[in-house]
Symmetry: C2
């Protein structure tokens, strides 16, 4: 049977839409023969917004010549019943899983919106803000006197991905992550800067393919020695040698997303996610 050219997928939520989006992405990624237009509709928390969503969905159905997909994590029953009237194929996350969970847990779920807030959430929020501030304050070797409080210290050559990785670990998991750039000088002497020696057990290395490093550096300083393939080759080779010599665990970031780099480091370094 011939496939339609495109399918539209809606991720619908009465909250941020992040759960529905993550789930929908993962499921749709399993169908790489089909092109999806993916639209997130967060905060669908009133009947009016739900009706507006339904009209967007129905318009997409007409446009595509085929019914859209809906990944629905709305909790409120009134909103759900409005959305159910749209001409879409619906993956209904809560109704699929809440009933079996209720019976397994021998408890009723609170079918209400926004129940997850409160004191616990507020503490988590503060932890994460603190960790984000820590990552910024301790970015790029700017300061080193807080290293005693760090959960982990990422080391690697300039532009290998240290900063976004630290920030992601802070934001997502409340991890206090510092980072320190290893310079040409460190690499020539094949030795850690003194300031890192005391914290050697907290170090984690990032490395990257030299071709990609050159491309990234090129955008920062085009045609510089810094961005040349020779220089990148040298730095990457030496930094990998150093990691090996000092038994510093390391990950090559070239083919990984920020999420993957962060979660792999945490798993390998035995750091616990603090966002549960």
């Amino acid at each position: 049977m011939k496939q339609p050219a495109k399918r539209t997928a809606f991720f619908i939520s009465d909250g941020t839409g992040i759960t529905s989006e993550a789930l929908g992405h993962s499921l749709l990624a399993q169908f790489d023969s089909i092109e999806f237009e993916q639209i997130t509709l967060p905060y669908i928390d009133t009947p009016d917004k739900a009706k507006e969503a339904v009209s967007r969905i129905n318009n997409a159905a007409i446009q595509d010549g085929t019914r859209p997909l809906i990944f629905d994590t709305v909790v409120n029953e009134d909103i759900r019943s409005i959305i159910a009237e749209s001409s879409a194929f619906k993956i209904d996350v809560f109704s699929s899983f809440l009933k079996p969970l209720e019976s397994e847990l021998d408890a009723r779920s609170n079918y209400s919106v926004g129940k997850s807030h409160g004191i616990v959430e507020q503490t988590r929020y503060k932890d994460r803000i603190d960790s984000v501030n820590f990552a910024i304050d301790n970015d790029d070797g700017a300061r080193t006197r807080q290293y005693a409080n760090a959960d982990i210290i990422l080391v690697g050559v300039s532009r290998c991905g240290k900063t976004p990785t630290c920030l992601y670990m802070a934001m997502q998991f409340g991890i206090k992550a510092a980072n320190y750039p290893l310079t040409e000088e460190d690499l020539e002497f094949s030795k850690l800067p003194d300031v890192l020696e005391a914290h050697k057990h907290k170090l984690y290395g990032l490395t990257i393919d030299s071709f990609q490093l050159a491309a990234i550096r090129h955008e920062r300083r085009a045609n510089s020695r810094y961005a040349s393939l020779d220089q990148c080759d040298f730095e990457v080779r030496e930094v990998e040698k150093l990691f090996k010599k000092l038994n510093i665990p390391a990950i090559n970031t070239t083919n990984f997303s920020i999420e993957e780099i962060s979660t792999r480091i945490m798993a390998q370094a035995g750091l616990n996610r603090r966002m549960n």
Copy 2:
């Protein structure tokens, strides 16, 4: 019926575990009468790791005196069948939804790990790194000459949550977000700094309850005028007046998580998520 004191929930994935974690959190948040210990097991991608996971699950069952819950987003069939042998109640995300999707889409899903990588992912990665760098470069009014390239510019008093919100929007959605602190002086004259005037349509205000602001500032500079409730009261009152006078849309961050603040701003400012 009496509830057991605690249930252990495992989020199991052959990838980052982020989807399984997000889904599991959302579902368990619907049962606030029960205390859950939540454990994420990412990168369960070999039979050995799966067997280790099963032994952790079975130990938790013994410890708790009741079977744990599993939220499973493993794709690989061999791994899945090992995990299925554990003594747990399993919410099986892929098998629940992939079959109905296959039939709706009239296509087979690729039952393989890591298929979602490739050129597309790499572009997204670069976009996000660029956006994170943009957020850092344009944090706290440090630079203003790139405002023409900003998708949005957050304004508000010191410590109201601008920086983490910018970084989250960058990291999660590839949005270029700058932020600029409104100082006492700006507030006294009840007028925007000149540098913001040209970009007024990109401004979005953050505000916060003065009591919480005082608490946050207190941690930064205890017992300072900056952290006093009087000062915080004054700044918050004036900044809210300014937002109103100039028709700058604004959000009160007090009771929201970083995800909620970010996704609400994006929805209200009409910014598209770039991570689809």
